[in-house]
């Protein structure tokens, strides 16, 4: 159960958006794809879930070429929670999660007892059992995101792709969602906008800058002031999380009073 990109290049409108992307997400790892807006995070993910066709390179699933699989077969291996929102026609949570069974069903197959079991289980795993009969559009942002993850779980794929799953969510839901994803035990590649959240939850991160991989490794090695300045052009401080030691970002005002004293009091990263 691993996902590997080899020298991937994706062009949009004849212009290379990302190139030379090589990375590997081993079995069960929660990998974060980081980078500034427009650095190509979504483009890479969309190449994996077949919205963009790579101009060069390979996408390998357990060593086999993913793009050679038919769309239905690929959907049984990789589930996606994309950024777009469903049309709000009033699907209930159960109906919406049942849509995750699509790649397993032929045109004339009905929903069987097994499908209903899988759907109920997926809803329970994201902690939404009490919402099963509710209309999707009545849910809060965090609940919606959970339900979309349940839909991906009902797909029974062993790889999960998430495109900025915490976008537009309140802080409580941001940690809730990432904690949920980290605990699922599947192989995850997620575009994450917030570097501190990535530092807290990801096993490994891959940092993109201008369409190329700028750095990769454990969060503590990638999320450093030097790397951030090089990729984002931002002057930041990185400290170790007081409880976990994970790298956390502190913003610095571009101008104004700074004293050596306040900086030196901050515990160093490798504490």
């Amino acid at each position: 159960m691993s996902l590997e990109l080899r020298d991937l290049r994706v062009d949009i409108g004849g212009r290379p958006i990302v190139s030379g992307i090589s990375l590997r997400v081993p079995d069960g790892q929660f990998a974060g794809l980081l980078g500034p807006n427009g650095s190509g995070k979504s483009t890479i993910l969309k190449a994996i879930y077949r919205v963009h066709r790579p101009a060069a390179g390979q996408i390998l699933l357990d060593g086999a070429d993913l793009l050679r699989l038919r769309a239905r077969q690929a959907a049984r291996r990789i589930a996606v929670v994309a950024q777009e929102s469903p049309v709000e026609f009033g699907f209930t949570v159960t109906e919406l999660v049942m849509i995750g069974r699509t790649p397993h069903k032929g045109p004339f197959d009905r929903d069987g007892a097994r499908d209903r079991e899988i759907v109920a289980d997926a809803i329970a795993r994201v902690g939404c059992a009490a919402l099963a009969g509710r209309s999707f559009h009545t849910l809060s942002g965090g609940e919606k995101q959970r339900v979309l993850i349940a839909r991906a779980l009902a797909q029974q794929a062993d790889h999960l792709i998430l495109d900025e799953p915490t976008n537009h969510l309140d802080i409580r839901y941001q940690t809730e969602i990432l904690e949920l994803v980290a605990g699922l035990g599947v192989t995850v590649l997620a575009a994450v906008h917030d570097l501190s959240l990535a530092g807290l939850f990801c096993d490994a991160v891959h940092l993109l800058g201008e369409g190329r991989l700028a750095a990769a490794g454990p969060p503590a090695e990638v999320i450093t002031p030097k790397v951030i300045r090089a990729v984002y052009g931002a002057d930041v401080l990185v400290i170790g999380h007081p409880e976990t030691g994970a790298p956390q970002l502190l913003h610095r005002p571009a101008s104004g009073a700074r004293t050596e004293r306040t900086v030196s009091e901050i515990p160093p990263l490798q504490a």
């Binding site: 969309k46 879930y49 077949r50 919205v51 038919r70 769309a71 239905r72 077969q73 690929a74 959907a75 049984r76 990789i78 589930a79 996606v80 994309a82 777009e84 929102s85 469903p86 049309v87 709000e88 026609f89 009033g90 699907f91 209930t92 109906e95 919406l96 049942m98 849509i99 995750g100 069974r101 699509t102 790649p103 069903k105 045109p107 004339f108 009490a130 919402l131 099963a132 009969g133 509710r134 209309s135 559009h137 009545t138 849910l139 809060s140 609940e143 839909r151 797909q155 792709i161």
Partner: protein
């Protein structure tokens, strides 16, 4: 902000067999009433007698026979078929362009058909086809409009929802301008019949008009029912649908062709009847939920019943004159939609 998750609204939707049987019974009752009611009332027994004798191959030259078999039955059946066709097309177009306020005419089908029909009615185009000239003109117009919108919207290789809406609206405005131009240049007497056609009517229904719309309806509904899951996935968004194993480009193209066909043929036999394809899908979704495997069959039955009832009103409400059916569907449909929008925020999405 949501305070608690304990207030679970129970699923009050009807189970599918009950819902389907209910819609079918409703449709039959409405059709039976529509065949019996009119300037001459015919008892259900007499209606039954006429129909069974015809089915058995016996024909009686009675007044009842003439009224039921030659006039009312083809009219009721055509109204039912067109109602089902417009509702089916509306349901699919709403998913295709990801907009609950879309209707089958959004893609330029009706305005293209209007150009064709107007050309026939005002200038006698296709005169050699006789009675079929208006139908032929509007089908050709609808197909041309559909092909134009499709070609323009496809720039860049994909049928993106926003592009499709924009192209549809722009091309519809363009075709409507052509219709207005033709009316302006045409002879004033013929303009009357154009106006009548533009508002829609089943007043000229004959048996010979039925096979084409009925066959296209059956074919398209049959195809769509096999695509119920794919439609549900598409409602999640094109990218989500792709990640669920749906071949989105092909599905969009096929849905576009299927809805254009079924709506174009309906417009050709009945004129432009508004609101049915917009409102009925939503009423059905409120009753049976959003799963297209239920919405499609229930919608076809409900649309048929709605159109049959509207046509019954159109020919009885100001008898012996006949109201254009588009007036009736708009009088019922517009308030119904306003109530729906106010009661169901999902039509406009949730606020905030």
């Amino acid at each position: 902000m949501r305070e608690s998750v304990t207030a679970v609204r129970p699923d009050r939707r009807l189970p599918p067999p009950v819902m389907l049987a209910g819609s079918a019974v409703l449709l039959l009752v409405v059709m039976a009433a529509a065949v019996g009611i009119g300037s001459v009332a015919v008892s259900p027994g007499a209606v039954w007698h006429v129909i069974t004798s015809h089915l058995a191959g016996r024909q009686a030259a009675t007044v009842n026979d003439e009224i039921i078999w030659q006039i009312r039955l083809p009219r009721v059946l055509l109204a039912a078929v067109v109602g089902a066709a417009l509702t089916t097309a509306g349901t699919v177009v709403q998913v295709l362009v990801r907009n609950p306020l879309a209707d089958p005419y959004l893609l330029g089908i009706s305005s293209g058909a209007s150009v064709g029909a107007t050309a026939v009615l005002l200038f006698g185009a296709f005169a050699s086809l006789g009675l079929w000239a208006v139908s032929a003109g509007s089908i050709i117009g609808a197909l041309l409009a559909m092909a134009t919108v499709f070609a323009v919207a496809r720039q860049g290789g994909t049928l993106a929802p926003t592009q499709l809406i924009l192209c549809g609206v722009v091309m519809a405005a363009f075709f409507e301008a052509i219709t207005s131009f033709l009316i302006f240049r045409g002879n004033p007497q013929a303009t009357q019949s154009v106006l009548f056609w533009l508002l829609g009517s089943f007043g000229l229904a004959t048996w010979s008009q039925l096979p084409l719309p009925a066959a296209s309806l059956l074919a398209v509904v049959g195809y769509l029912i096999t695509q119920g899951r794919a439609l549900n996935a598409l409602a999640m968004g094109p990218e989500a649908a792709a990640s669920l194993g749906v071949e989105v480009h092909r599905l969009r193209r096929d849905l576009y062709i299927a809805t254009s066909l079924v709506a174009g043929v309906a417009v050709a036999v009945s004129g432009v009847i508004g609101f049915v394809g917009l409102v009925v899908p939503h009423i059905v979704r409120l009753l049976v939920g959003s799963d297209h495997r239920r919405v499609l069959p229930a919608g076809a039955l409900a649309g048929a019943a709605f159109m049959t009832a509207a046509d019954l009103l159109a020919r009885t409400i100001v008898a012996p004159q006949e109201m254009p059916i588009g007036v009736i569907t708009a009088f019922i449909g517009a308030p119904a939609l306003v109530i729906l929008i106010r009661r169901r925020p999902y039509l406009y999405g949730t606020p905030g």
